[in-house]
């Protein structure tokens, strides 16, 4: 018999290296004659899309398009150290470093622009739509490219280099007390599963996933992180296991270590919850790792909802489910 059930899973995740370790990201920025920009950072895009996030942030700060920002990353001869592509830290940490480095380049640009536009202070200047404008008097403006090339001919240079460090403290090794991570990301997912009571097979039919990431700098990429996280959660909960014999891996191939195929995936509804984090770039936190965490629990809880057995050891294999069902029917 096939039985359906739904389960809820929640999780939290402290982003960053944490525990008082100096979690530092750095970036170099240069604004070119035509108003396009180079951002150099050690932060590596491992597929999650960090370079796109940095381009968006720099573009937003300078009133240009992301396509006009070239992000150069992960070359130790060229880029400053920005720490590991890990710990759900690049959007928050390196994003903040990019903002700070851009701010430096921007500060000299605004000072120059204030003079050029006869404004009393750089605070009165804004960068929008490829223009340098006086706040409140948008007709008083110059094209960004024109201003930058003119300034450069006069010997001005618009560069920035800065670092950002996330705030944490080391926990007391005797009591575990401290403020080890900041910020925390949160997520909640509901999974609907179908369990075959005769074969023990579980199919995950649907997952709704809500994740608080502070601010979705790129919703397209955020949705991609959630779906990818769910896939790894499905694998974790149901399929994957490195099997050992005397410490040696017995299944070191893709025909034996099974990850989900497209046909093993549920229908996904991704919901982006934006609780602004004031210290983040545009209020953003992070999403990469948290995306997979609630899936594990939602599936296990849904199995229980469907057939009334509690799986406490992962993966929830058909064998374990049948054994649990048999145990249950004895009672």
């Amino acid at each position: 018999m096939k039985k359906r059930g739904r389960g809820l899973g929640c999780a939290w995740y402290g982003t960053g290296y944490g525990n008082g370790f100096p979690d530092v990201s750095s970036a170099f920025v240069e604004i070119h004659d035509d108003g396009s920009v180079s951002v150099l950072t050690g932060a590596i895009d491992v597929g999650q899309g960090s370079s796109t996030i940095f381009a968006q942030i720099a573009a937003e700060e300078l009133g240009i398009d992301p396509e006009e920002v070239t992000v150069i990353s992960g070359d130790t001869d060229v880029t400053p150290d920005s720490g590991t592509s890990a710990a759900t830290r690049h959007t928050y940490n390196t994003g903040n470093a990019v903002i700070k480095a851009v701010a430096q380049a921007k500060a000299s640009l605004l000072t120059y622009a204030a003079r050029a536009l006869h404004c009393t202070t750089a605070d009165g200047i804004e960068l929008k739509d490829h223009k340098v404008r006086v706040k409140g008097e948008p007709s008083r403006s110059l094209p960004l490219a024109e201003l930058v090339s003119k300034a450069r001919l006069e010997g001005e240079r618009f560069l920035g280099s800065d670092s950002y460090t996330a705030r944490t403290t080391r926990v007391n090794p005797e009591t575990g007390q401290g403020a080890p991570y900041w910020p925390y990301a949160f997520g909640s997912q509901v999974a609907e599963v179908e369990v075959d009571t005769e074969t023990g097979n579980v199919q995950v039919l649907r997952v709704a996933a809500a994740h608080d990431l502070g601010k979705a700098i790129n919703p397209l990429q955020a949705e991609g992180q959630i779906a990818g996280g769910i896939a790894q959660g499905v694998g974790f909960a149901l399929l994957e296991e490195v099997r050992l014999s005397e410490g040696r891996i017995k299944n070191p191939t893709f025909s034996q270590y099974l990850i989900p195929t497209v046909l093993d995936m549920p229908e996904i509804r991704a919901i982006l919850v934006e609780e602004p984090e004031g210290t983040g770039p545009y209020d953003a936190k992070g999403l990469g790792e948290p995306a997979m965490l609630p899936t594990i629990a939602a599936i296990v809880n849904a199995i229980d909802d469907a057939v009334g057995v509690r799986i406490t050891s992962l993966p929830a294999t058909p064998e374990k489910i049948l054994a649990a069902l048999a145990e249950q029917s004895k009672k």
């Binding site: 942030i57 937003e60 001869d77 920005s82 909640s188 490195v242 050992l244 919901i271 629990a297």
Partner: protein, 429 residues
């Protein structure tokens, strides 16, 4: 660019901006490390231990050295500083005498072609004295058991222990009207990124060592390569090419130092490419964890106390284990306010494949335990899983088990509300 491709939707920040590197990826132009080549490159292959725990009594390398196409056969004697690691340099580039896990590299063979390198690697004879291994972390953490890294961690295999103590556990139990106690277990996982490790290393026209690789942290790799080879940081350039998935599995050193060493010694460009099987044997894994959980709540559905013991199998090398078990301990309560907490988390060395970073980093495994506990408690209390959570979740101003006050963005309640309609009637139980 092609003007017909629909571009950014919405503003710059907050917009559905298309990633620039996707162009090269859909066109097949993006270069992953296996795709880069250099004139005159040779191939290197590592000979890895099939045994999880062994002493090396001797090496016979003559046949391999004489084999067709072989350029160099390197051993631990060729490594100036034979260690690397993210927290402790406890992992040898090439094992000298003590094999601690199956897959430990022992000999490195370089040859003109990949086939010749593999053939020659097959001719290397390693004389192993197989030792009894420690495969169960509960066993390995007992006193008197042989320590795997005495020079670093002394007489114990426990590389890390963190207690998290909050409030008064006895008081918490006194207040608890309902208790749920269970053992949970998670398995060892592989990152299974689609792109197996590969690297191209060469000495450039400046005499600098260049290593092109897919990594999560080029600057770390540079430091470890420079250290192992006795070079200055500025003499080593780590250049990241396209990374075919990582998920934590490219944080530790895999092939980087070996390829760099071979290139430095032979002055030839050196290519290394793992097969999928070699990949399984050569990068870290997710920590299997055993978690004992005991949770108490009042009839009104307020959590009063949690006691948990978490043991993570670190495998043969520490990698990030201390940080991972710390993260497990700190996240052990889940996103809930619990006034009285005692958690003990341990990372224990064994002769299993070493475990390290993987998406979730120690905050993943406890989710199974704390969320199962919540559903079991809800059932005991006759509350819906949603309701029990809503009564206990962290909100702005909540204090975590480590005493941290959550001052900023805490969107747990919004997330729960957002998925509530998807729970429907089915899970009223």
């Amino acid at each position: 660019m092609n003007g017909t491709v629909g571009g950014t939707v919405g503003g710059t920040v907050g917009g559905r901006v298309l990633r620039e590197d996707a162009w090269g990826k859909v066109l097949g132009q993006a270069a992953f490390p296996a795709d880069v080549r250099r004139e005159g490159q040779i191939y290197a292959v590592a000979v890895r231990s099939p045994h999880a725990h062994a002493r090396i009594r001797g090496l016979k390398l003559d046949e391999a050295r004489k084999a067709e196409g072989v350029v160099a056969v390197l051993t631990s004697a060729d490594v100036p500083h034979n260690g690397h690691g993210v927290l402790y340099r406890d992992q040898p580039v090439l094992v000298q005498d003590h094999v601690r896990m199956a897959g430990d590299p022992v000999v490195l063979v370089g040859a003109e072609t990949l086939a010749e390198a593999r053939t020659a690697a097959g001719l290397v004879e390693v004389d192993y004295e197989v030792l009894p291994g420690l495969f169960d972390p509960e066993e390995a953490m007992k006193e008197g058991v042989p320590a795997l890294h005495p020079e670093i961690h002394g007489s114990t295999n426990i590389v890390y222990h963190l207690p998290v103590c909050k409030g008064n556990v006895a008081k918490g139990w006194a207040e608890a009207e309902v208790t749920v106690e269970r053992d949970y277990q998670t398995q060892m996982l592989d990152h299974a990124f689609l792109q197996p490790e590969a690297v191209l290393a060469y000495v450039d026209e400046r005499g600098h060592l260049v290593v092109e690789v897919a990594t999560q942290y080029a600057h770390y790799d540079r430091g470890e390569i420079a250290h192992a080879l006795g070079l200055k940081f500025n003499q080593v350039r780590v250049k990241t090419v396209s990374v075919g998935g990582a998920f934590g599995g490219r944080e530790d050193i895999s092939l980087q130092i070996m390829a760099a060493l071979m290139a430095w010694r032979t002055l030839r460009p050196v290519k290394m490419e793992n097969t999928r099987e070699e990949s399984f044997h050569s990068h870290s894994k997710r920590h299997p964890m055993r978690m004992h959980y005991k949770t108490g709540a009042t009839r009104a559905g307020k959590l009063t106390v949690l006691e948990a013991r978490i043991v993570g199998d670190a495998g043969a090398y520490a990698s990030w284990s201390p940080n991972i078990l710390r993260k497990a301990a700190i996240h052990a309560t889940g996103p809930y306010e619990i006034p009285n907490v005692r958690v003990d988390a341990y990372a224990v060395l064994t002769n299993n494949p070493y475990t390290g970073a993987m998406r979730g980093f120690g905050a993943a495994q406890p989710v199974l335990a704390y969320e199962s506990q919540m559903d079991l408690l809800a059932r005991e209390l006759g509350l819906s899983p949603m309701e029990l959570r809503l009564r206990n979740i962290c909100r702005v101003g909540s204090e975590t088990a480590t005493g941290q006050v959550l001052t900023g963005s805490v969107g747990m309640e919004e997330c729960l509300k957002a998925v509530k309609s998807y729970l429907g009637e089915v899970s009223a139980r």
